[in-house]
């Protein structure tokens, strides 16, 4: 399945784009996506943390993705 990913903050700099299209096996979970991302872009490993939001909610590694999901890479936040 093809997943469209949005990136913000330093994640945007790491993938050198605001969006990324990535092919994953059907039923892949958030943990698998994180591993794919760090394999393709090793700079993610240098960050303090990396979270994934699906449809505007933080999700754990066990959460299963599907093609229509809005998936966003959330690097360490720094609002306020």
């Amino acid at each position: 399945m093809k997943i469209e990913i949005l990136a913000f903050g330093i994640a945007k700099d790491i993938i050198k784009n605001r969006t990324l299209s990535i092919d994953l096996p059907d039923g892949s979970n958030v943990g698998f996506l994180k591993k794919e991302l760090t394999d393709r872009f090793p700079d993610f490993q240098k960050l303090k943390s990396i979270a994934i939001a699906v449809n505007e909610e933080y999700q754990t590694d066990e959460f299963n993705l599907s093609e229509k999901d809005e998936v966003v890479i959330i690097p360490p936040v720094s609002g306020g």
Binding site: F8, E56, V77, S78, G79
Partner: protein, 138 residues
């Protein structure tokens, strides 16, 4: 009642103060976060804020709802700025009104502390000789 706003133009503390005013409250606290002119002594030129807008708003709303529940807050207003901010400008305002004052202080502190941990907003510090995404690296 809860008022959450993500704004590209100047934040106005009085708007938050007016929103939380209520006859059945005994006090309100207001936190105003501003842009400091240095980071560990190094002069800062400006800051650039960006947000994942819909989720930033929903996460700020969650925080306000939690605070409202826990401290019996009557009204909470959270305004956060995005875009380019100069030194001294306001990045965030949190106003909380509660029946008794102690709860207002605690709820306001909870809101800003939690906002910094969970709300998908990012700031980049611009120095004379470079730039850095705040808190990105260990």
């Amino acid at each position: 009642m809860i008022d959450i706003q993500l704004k590209e133009n100047k934040l106005i503390p009085q708007e938050c103060i007016d929103f939380v005013a209520a006859d059945n409250t005994g006090g309100s606290t207001v936190f105003i976060g501003t842009i400091r002119n240095n980071t560990k002594g190094k002069p800062v030129v400006r800051l650039e804020f960006e947000a994942y807008d819909p989720m930033a708003i929903s996460e700020m709303r969650k925080i306000a709802e939690q605070a409202k529940e826990k401290w019996n807050a009557e009204k909470i207003s959270i305004h956060h700025r995005i875009g380019i901010l100069g030194i001294g400008e306001i990045a965030v305002i949190i106003a909380v009104a509660t029946p008794h004052r102690k709860a207002a202080f605690e709820a306001c502190e909870y809101c800003i502390d939690t906002l910094k941990e969970t709300v998908p907003i990012w700031k980049k510090e611009i120095f004379e000789d470079g730039e850095v995404w705040v808190a990105a690296h260990p």
